[in-house]
């Protein structure tokens, strides 16, 4: 039986997401944090644990907000970091190292105001064995495994192009989504080639925004205004810091291990999942996610999505905010996965799915390097 003693009681994004040249990175953290603490019905002085990613990192964020933490987590493994922070917060709260943890994200991904672009040292393995071959950010690395997958499993360009089409149907129902106009497979295939075989509309947005979470023990949640979201199971792992060293280009070992651990801890099966978020930095990532998490068999995810199973009215609602492809993508998008899972479990989502009791969020970080998984529920097991 899964434990359900730690809950998310506050969750909020920045007032706006999108293009925010007037917001520094630090302000995005602060705005998300203040909104989340307010959402939880708490005061900043109630927070005694802080988790965030550098830069600015947990210390700068806590100092700015006047938090005096007795627990700090600066785990930074790319866009999935916040899922790991939630996992670590569960352990910290159970251990008594903190009672109420704030997890913050803010990123001026588009406007680059007060941001720090991380560059690896010139002598790192990535710089010695990949950078000389002309890689430049995620579009040139995350995409490399895909052709091998397409050859092994016969995924077609049309099936791949349907991933953003399906997600745009969710975005159309979300007034905060950056792109809401319906698109067709033809639109996707006619959009500019970014990194073959991926076109512009198969690549995520680059935006500004942030969000935060407040996590505490279930026994403290009773008097708070929002329905608690129970953290039933969590997982984290990594596979390889170099994309070229993934063991098998048709499957993410990190997705497999992280999700298996979270499902086992939660004591759930795939049929129990009412709502799913998979980090969609590029169109093929949800395909890998659906298979590596075990929702469909190997090579089946492209057809599963193209048949409408993940779009509005489908049996496995996926990326219901519109995803990184249509909603927003600040750079480290994982926070927005959790926000949408919480909204769906509270019944507060813009594109609300009826009767969601279990939602799963699957994140990736540093391309296929790291992974984190959360199994969340609005009921106790």
């Amino acid at each position: 039986m899964a434990r359900s003693d730690v809950v998310i009681v506050g969750a909020a994004e920045t007032d706006e997401v999108g293009v925010l040249p007037g917001h520094s990175t630090l302000r995005l953290h602060v705005e998300g944090a203040r909104n989340a603490v307010s959402d939880a019905g708490l005061r900043m002085s109630d927070i005694d644990g802080i988790a965030s990613v550098s830069a600015p990192g947990p210390i700068q964020v806590a100092h700015t907000l006047g938090i005096k933490p007795r627990w700090i987590d600066g785990t930074g493994v790319g866009g999935t970091s916040f899922l790991l922070h939630v996992r670590h917060a569960v352990a910290a709260i159970r251990a008594g190292h903190a009672t109420t943890v704030l997890v913050t994200h803010g990123e001026s991904g588009r406007s680059q105001v007060g941001s720090a672009r991380g560059a690896l040292p010139a002598s790192s393995p990535n710089a010695q064995f990949e950078a000389p071959y002309g890689v430049l950010g995620p579009p040139t690395m995350f995409t490399i495994p895909l052709l091998r997958y397409m050859k092994e499993f016969g995924l077609t360009a049309e099936q791949l192009a349907y991933v953003p089409v399906a997600q745009r149907k969710w975005a159309a129902r979300n007034p905060r989504a950056r792109y809401r106009e319906p698109i067709t497979v033809e639109d996707v295939l006619n959009s500019r080639m970014i990194s073959y075989p991926l076109h512009l509309l198969e690549c995520c947005l680059v935006t500004d925004g942030g969000g935060a979470l407040v996590i505490t023990s279930a026994d403290r949640a009773g008097d708070l205004p929002q329905p608690p979201v129970h953290i039933l199971g969590t997982g984290e792992t990594f596979e390889s810091p170099l994309i070229s060293q993934m063991e098998d280009f048709t499957t993410s070992a990190a997705f497999r291990r992280s999700s298996a651990e979270a499902f086992a801890e939660a004591g759930i099966t795939h049929g129990d999942v009412d709502h799913l978020m998979i980090y969609d930095a590029f169109a093929h990532v949800p395909i890998y996610g659906l298979e590596d998490m075990g929702f469909v068999g190997r090579g089946e995810a492209g057809a599963f999505i193209a048949e409408g199973n993940t779009e509005p009215g489908g049996r496995l609602p996926l990326n219901t905010n519109g995803g990184g492809l249509s909603y927003t993508h600040t750079g480290m998008y994982g926070m927005f996965l959790i926000q949408e899972s919480v909204r769906q479990l509270r019944g507060q989502a813009a594109a609300q799915v009826p009767g969601v009791e279990i939602s799963v969020a699957q994140g990736n970080g540093g391309m296929f390097t790291a992974a984190g998984t959360l199994v969340l529920s609005n009921r106790t097991p």
Partner: protein, 140 residues
């Protein structure tokens, strides 16, 4: 000429033999003396058994094209090459490594997965790096 130079690796003590071999026209990788497995990239211990008893072996320089992307937004120094393929080659010895595919126009029709490729070498500043070309072609 590109306005900017392509990136040159900065070797560390444990990777220096790799780049020294490349300068001599050989592709060398490490092999574990305890478990016997070869691996890439060069590092201070075996990724399979964590042993630090390692040797350098000279590969055949042959492999196959495992996967790639064709990048249309060039990295600094690659402006004249775009669109260019960033590939991963499976060496005949087993390990895989990133490379560009040189000596052939980088189009989806030309770059067929599992095609045979062979190593060639490219100077980057003071350092030499391995590259790959379709097997059986003249050096460029």
């Amino acid at each position: 000429m590109s306005a900017r130079a392509k990136p040159a690796p900065v070797p560390t003590p444990e990777t220096q033999p790799y780049f020294d071999a490349a300068a001599e026209g050989e592709l060398k990788i490490q092999r574990c003396l305890d478990c016997g497995k070869p691996f890439f990239y060069p590092r201070p211990c075996c990724p399979f058994c964590a042993s630090d008893a390692l040797e350098w072996i000279t590969t055949s320089g042959r492999g196959t094209l495992y996967s790639y992307t064709i990048n249309h937004r060039p990295a600094p120094g690659f402006e004249q090459d775009a669109p260019y393929a960033i590939a991963v080659v499976q060496l005949s010895e087993g390990p895989r490594m990133m490379a560009n595919i040189v000596g052939i126009e980088n189009t989806p029709d030309n770059l067929v997965l599992d095609m045979d490729v062979e190593v060639t070498f490219e100077k980057r500043g003071d350092v030499t790096i391995p590259q790959f070309r379709p097997a059986g072609r003249e050096a460029i």
